[in-house]
């Protein structure tokens, strides 16, 4: 009789479904997985060590580059940790802006996720639909910070600047012309908040379109229902947070349980799964987009009615305005000190977490009283999730690993740091 042995297969790091640079070494019994060993670190940049060598503010930009599809949520965790140690709090308007941008970021992240996960499992069209709306939200990022992705918009003590009063319009080009151009620009006649009003009124119908393509799609359900089932106990043992935990039926969301920024004032619901499989997590994320949309609407309403400062007026932490610098020597000195030496943070340690789109993103910050952090540790949700890969995919088929990588919502910027 012919002898049949298990064989080892290498997946990635150069593979379109590896979501970046995941290398998986799998022991296979035919098409079935016996053991999966993820090799990570191919994108390790030593962010935490770099942050230790720089004044506090200079590392905010690194945070964007961790989970590079939910940029501002990462900044939020880091900035909150600094604020906690400094004992300062951002003005109310800045808190609302942060809440709004956290939710814009959540939609951005979930759009990227639904597109790429669809692509992984053979649904090409969703990607094109999702990126249409993603582009519209990227414009909001650009309008507020000047950068489409790596915004560096949140600062200790508030946000970099107030929301723009005028949304910039598209000029005619080979890609934007005629009625298309008119439609795009009709949203952009007023301020950024008017633009977001138009967007949020329109967005639920767009989510309906994604659902139309996937929710009852037979192939989609065959690829996701009953795949990667995670029990609530297993999810907690493996340190899962966010949708990975809620998909298994545990009602846990930091926005509800340990509210930060202005989440306590927001009215939104928490979607929770039943079976803990890939399909439930898909449904949770889709519903989260609708709920984020609701939160943005509430923030827009508040922000329109309540103008005010967006940064604390503490020149040890926040720079003075250019006008003040031209007239006031104190302001000039503050500016110089802040951008050369930075500010000293009182000795102590803190752990601050935010509900990032992928789960709990935390920042453990130790300061010894210097102008640079003594130790920064960034707790990335993807790192904890990916470590459970071996346990979850054992006994699944090879193609289900791709579904699993998709449902973990991995981004290697944060896993490898």
């Amino acid at each position: 009789m012919q002898e049949i042995r298990n064989y080892t297969m290498n997946f990635g790091p150069q593979h379109p479904a590896a979501h970046g640079v995941l290398r998986l070494v799998m022991e296979m019994d035919g098409e079935t997985i016996v053991r999966a060993d993820p090799h990570i670190g191919l994108l390790h940049r030593g962010t935490e060590k770099l942050a230790e060598s720089k004044p506090f503010n200079q590392s905010i930009g690194y945070m964007d580059r961790l989970d590079y599809v939910s940029m501002m949520c990462n900044e939020h965790a880091y900035v909150r940790a600094i604020e906690t140690l400094l004992g300062i709090e951002a003005p109310v308007r800045a808190q609302y802006i942060r809440t709004m941008f956290d939710e814009i970021t959540r939609i951005l992240n979930h759009l990227m996720w639904i597109g790429s996960n669809g692509l992984d499992l053979g649904a090409m069209a969703v990607f094109l639909y999702a990126f249409r709306e993603r582009e519209e939200l990227m414009d909001v990022y650009e309008a507020v910070s000047g950068a489409r992705m790596h915004a560096t918009y949140y600062r200790p003590g508030g946000v970099y600047r107030d929301l723009p009063a005028q949304m910039s319009q598209y000029r005619e080009s080979p890609w934007h012309k005629g009625n298309d151009l008119k439609r795009i620009n009709s949203w952009r006649e007023g301020s950024m908040l008017d633009y977001l009003d138009a967007f949020t009124a329109d967005f639920p119908s767009k989510v309906d379109e994604y659902e139309e393509l996937l929710t009852t799609n037979r192939i989609w359900k065959q690829r996701t229902v009953g795949i990667g089932v995670i029990s609530p106990e297993l999810a907690q043992q493996w340190g899962m947070t966010g949708v990975m935990l809620r998909g298994s039926g545990v009602e846990w969301d930091l926005r509800k349980k340990q509210p930060y920024a202005k989440y306590a004032e927001m009215d939104f619901d928490l979607p929770v799964g039943v079976n803990g499989d890939c399909y439930d997590r898909y449904l949770c994320r889709v519903e989260e987009m609708r709920q984020s949309n609701r939160i943005i609407q509430q923030c827009v309403q508040w922000l329109k009615a309540n103008p005010g400062p967006v940064m604390v007026k503490n020149f040890k932490v926040a720079p003075p305005s250019r006008v003040e610098m031209k007239e006031d020597m104190e302001a000039l000195i503050h500016h110089f000190k802040l951008f050369t030496e930075g500010y000293c943070v009182p000795a102590g340690e803190t752990y601050c977490a935010v509900e990032a789109p992928k789960g709990e993103f935390g920042c453990y910050l130790v300061s010894d009283g210097a102008n640079k952090p003594f130790r920064v540790h960034l707790r990335a949700p993807g790192f904890a999730h990916l470590s459970s890969m071996d346990t979850i995919v054992r006994g699944h088929m090879l193609a289900d690993v791709v579904a699993m990588i998709g449902t973990y919502d991995l981004v290697f910027g944060e896993v490898d740091r």
Partner: protein
């Protein structure tokens, strides 16, 4: 709403564990410091006992306390030495491997810091365990209590060289295959020790000693300014006015 106040947690911990834990509560965050020998027993109790139920280990990370509180810039007294004090220094990122600081006066350099989360009681707890021996930092592994700690311990081993006794698979995780040293230690230069490039003559990627120089520009400064406190109080007032 479940009880999230840290004081009652700290009281409960003190009543249950007594002198085993050294407790401190700052800004509603409770930290418990304990000896490596007690870690397994305390961790098991924290996970299983109904009063605690820390079902999730959220995070574990290594910390190297070498050089804690050291500065490169004298802010207490006036000096006539001029600008050079700003560009010469021994702190993070400003030395090569040959010039690395070798101060071993700090009692117990390495610690591992654990963040726990109880979903049932909605509260968090931080544990800190120091390694007794700096030359061979050793801690018991928690993999049998919370499986999620597996990769976090591998990371702490990789970056700090902390060895977790009882870990089944203590391999490097973030650094390159065949990497030498533990890069997040405070005496490891920010510029690293080796660089890689493709050598067209040998037709392969080769490792060479680093050619770049340490170039961190901003000195490490500690200020305990009165005006910082003043500014903070002013900011608090301002915020209230808004």
């Amino acid at each position: 709403m479940t009880d999230t106040s840290a004081t009652s947690l700290s009281d409960q911990l003190a009543a249950r564990f007594g002198d085993t834990l050294t407790l401190s509560t700052v800004r509603n965050e409770t930290t418990a410091e304990l000896a490596a020998a007690d870690l397994i027993a305390v961790a098991t109790a924290l996970r299983d006992e109904p009063a605690f139920r820390f079902s999730e280990l959220i995070d574990l990370c290594g910390v190297d306390y070498l050089g804690y509180g050291q500065t490169e810039w004298d802010t207490e007294s006036v000096s006539g030495t001029g600008f050079s004090r700003g560009v010469e220094g021994q702190a993070m990122g400003r030395f090569t491997w040959a010039e690395r600081p070798r101060d071993s006066n700090h009692p117990r350099r390495f610690a591992s810091v654990i963040q726990l989360l109880s979903i049932e009681h909605n509260r968090r707890l931080r544990l800190r365990v120091f390694c007794d021996d700096d030359s061979m930092p050793l801690l018991p592994s928690l993999t049998l209590i919370w499986p999620s700690v597996n990769w976090f311990e591998r990371e702490a081993f990789d970056l700090y060289g902390i060895i977790f006794d009882g870990h089944q698979d203590l391999r490097r995780i973030l650094t390159d295959y065949g990497f030498v040293g533990h890069p997040f230690r405070k005496d490891f230069p920010l510029i690293g020790n080796v660089e890689v490039r493709y050598d067209p003559e040998q037709k392969r990627v080769i490792y060479e000693p680093v050619s770049i120089e340490p170039r961190v520009l901003v000195p490490r400064t500690i200020r305990d300014d009165a005006d910082l406190m003043q500014a903070r109080a002013e900011a608090a007032d301002q915020w209230r006015e808004n």
